[in-house]
């Protein structure tokens, strides 16, 4: 009897793991299989024509790239400052807990609310209209917790002996930061940023009211009234309205490009991040 339960239990958990992996493989395979025919050099370098039924997604890629770069420029510097505050400057345990809690709360805020917030403050109140800068800023704030926490975990895993040696040599806190902490934790910043950007690349809700339109934008020339195209929004719109087979084909192609973009951003950092995560939790 006990043996039977043991076998049933093991089978159930194995089945669950199989489902989890199977779903992923199924999703990726479907997108790959359906999207690959659409991918061609023209697809990647031409602009949208006929509302997506033909042409390519070059400006969507450029738009997404612009959004990602601005998100990075917003989140990375802030992440460094906040991470240092949490690990170096703040000494009160209760305050540290609160700061970390705030980061987790920010991480859990629904992305649509970022979009609406941006809509009210930037698009309407500040009169910027739809702007790539707003989108970049909102995405940057959205991924800020991811980047910051990855950096914090990396800083925490710096062996104490380095810090003790530096203090023993008489270095001030700021010197220790620049000579030991920052250089050693850069990998954490990189992994956190890449993971954050992987998430930002696929987000639609923060940008759909604030930064992006479906067609008509190329490369923005200013900040006010300068929307960009974006890959996820493109897919979002077409998913609702596309019926022509050619458009559907291109839709799959766009989806494949997006998923590959996200994977490329995360595939290199995942093993490293898993390792840091393990070290931080099981040290």
């Amino acid at each position: 009897m006990r043996n039977i339960m043991n076998i049933l239990f093991t089978s159930f958990t194995a089945f669950a793991a199989l489902v989890g992996c199977g779903v992923f493989i199924a999703i990726f395979t479907v997108i790959f299989y359906r999207g690959l025919p659409a991918i061609s050099f023209e697809f990647l370098t031409d602009q949208i024509r006929v509302a997506g039924a033909s042409g390519g997604i070059i400006y969507n890629l450029i738009g997404t790239l612009i959004l990602l770069v601005s998100a990075l420029l917003v989140s990375a510097p802030l992440a460094i400052g906040i991470a240092l505050m949490q690990t170096v400057f703040l000494n009160n345990g209760a305050l540290k807990k609160r700061l970390e809690l705030l980061l987790y709360i920010l991480n859990g805020v629904p992305s649509i609310l970022f979009g609406i917030f941006g809509f009210i403050v930037f698009v309407k109140y500040l009169g910027l209209g739809k702007s790539w800068l707003t989108g970049g800023f909102l995405l940057g704030m959205m991924i800020l917790p991811t980047v910051t926490i990855a950096l914090i975990e990396r800083i925490r895993s710096i062996p104490k002996k380095y810090l003790e040696a530096a203090t023993g040599l008489g270095l001030r806190k700021s010197q220790i930061i620049f000579s030991v902490i920052l250089p050693q934790s850069m990998s954490g910043l990189t992994t956190g940023s890449l993971l954050g950007l992987a998430r930002a690349a696929g987000e639609t809700a923060p940008i759909m009211y604030t930064a992006t339109i479906f067609a008509g934008a190329t490369i923005p020339t200013g900040i006010k009234e300068s929307p960009v195209l974006a890959l996820p929004y493109h897919i979002f719109v077409l998913a609702q309205d596309a019926f022509a087979p050619a458009a559907i084909q291109n839709l799959w192609g766009a989806a494949l490009v997006l998923i590959l973009l996200v994977f490329m951003l995360s595939i290199f950092v995942l093993p490293l991040r898993l390792k840091i995560h393990e070290e931080a939790h099981h040290a």
């Binding site: 339960m5 669950a16 493989i25 997108i31 400057f89 709360i105 805020v109 700021s174 696929g202 639609t204």
Partner: protein, 298 residues
């Protein structure tokens, strides 16, 4: 204490933290401030009222709140058993090398953008659910059930990774002692490991719930976006098989553009956002507390 360190880097850290706090504060303020007209108008019926018809200035979000909870509930129903089961398998049963492979696969699953899930829902899941529900005579495949199923897959990685963490935090000595007594693997996991990982697993479920509540794009695409679907009885399964509306799908739709400018209507929309913020804030707070509790016991 606070201004001891006058170095530029310290000031910069302070600035960054204050910026974070300020932004979050302003975020909250905007939502609260803008929802006041809406809440003042509807008062309690905002939550309890089940009719949302902006043309008659009726803003009862009850059906939407129910929709949100139903969708999250279905999602959890799928994700929790599979997620915890998969976590048990990877952390307790699988050898180390395969473990990393499975973890990477699940993390990649977590990274798939919601719009892609939405796309797959529109092009596949919708039809499957439609066929599945033919005995119930559905209007289309866009139902609360569809959204829930999609959400279940989306939050599966969250539960899996956090449950895996919680299980790994239970000390190895506990397992050895149990095996040393002659208990088999299933007994060791169920009687010793899982009870000690309880806090972390509950935190995982809470966090997944938070994600499910806040998900917009995928739900928007497959839920049908029909207001005021209030069931005759709260226990009937009927709403699952019909189109519905969640707070997020409302906020992701065209009514946002219509509402702007009209203080009352916009206030009501923003109140939806406020409710979402409160739910997410509570859930995250509780979840963080549980993780700390679990860590202390380990």
């Amino acid at each position: 204490m606070l201004f001891q360190n006058k170095s530029p880097i310290a000031l910069y850290s302070w600035f960054s933290t204050v910026f974070l706090l300020g932004s979050m504060g302003m975020f909250l303020f905007v939502f609260v401030y803008q929802s006041i007209p809406g809440l003042a108008h509807s008062k309690l019926s905002f939550i309890t009222g089940d009719v949302w018809y902006y043309r008659s200035e009726l803003f009862g979000a009850g059906a939407m709140i129910l929709g949100t909870l139903l969708v999250a509930w279905v999602g959890l129903l799928i994700a929790v058993p599979i997620g915890i089961g998969a976590a048990i398998f990877t952390s307790e049963i699988l050898p180390a090398k395969l473990r990393i492979l499975v973890k990477i696969t699940i993390e990649l699953l977590a990274g798939i953008p919601s719009v892609i899930y939405g796309l797959l829902g529109v092009l596949f899941l919708r039809n499957w659910v439609y066929k599945l529900l033919t005995p119930f005579d559905p209007l289309s495949g866009d139902t609360v059930l569809t959204a829930g199923l999609l959400l279940g897959i989306m939050i599966l990685p969250t539960i899996m990774t956090m449950a895996d963490d919680a299980l790994r935090n239970v000390p190895a000595a506990q397992r050895l002692a149990a095996r040393g007594l002659g208990l088999n693997r299933a007994e060791t996991i169920c009687l010793i490991v899982l009870p000690q990982a309880r806090a972390g697993i509950m935190a995982a479920i809470l966090l997944a719930f938070g994600r499910a509540v806040g998900e917009t794009i995928a739900v928007f695409l497959v839920i049908g976006r029909q207001d005021n679907r209030w069931p005759e009885s709260l226990f009937s399964l009927r709403p699952l098989f019909e189109a519905g509306q969640t707070m997020t799908s409302k906020l992701g739709g065209s009514e946002v553009n219509i509402a702007y400018g009209d203080t009352l209507h916009w206030g009501a929309m923003m109140s939806l956002g406020l409710v979402l913020l409160i739910i997410v804030g509570l859930v995250t707070h509780l979840s963080a507390r549980l993780i700390k509790c679990g860590a202390v016991h380990a």
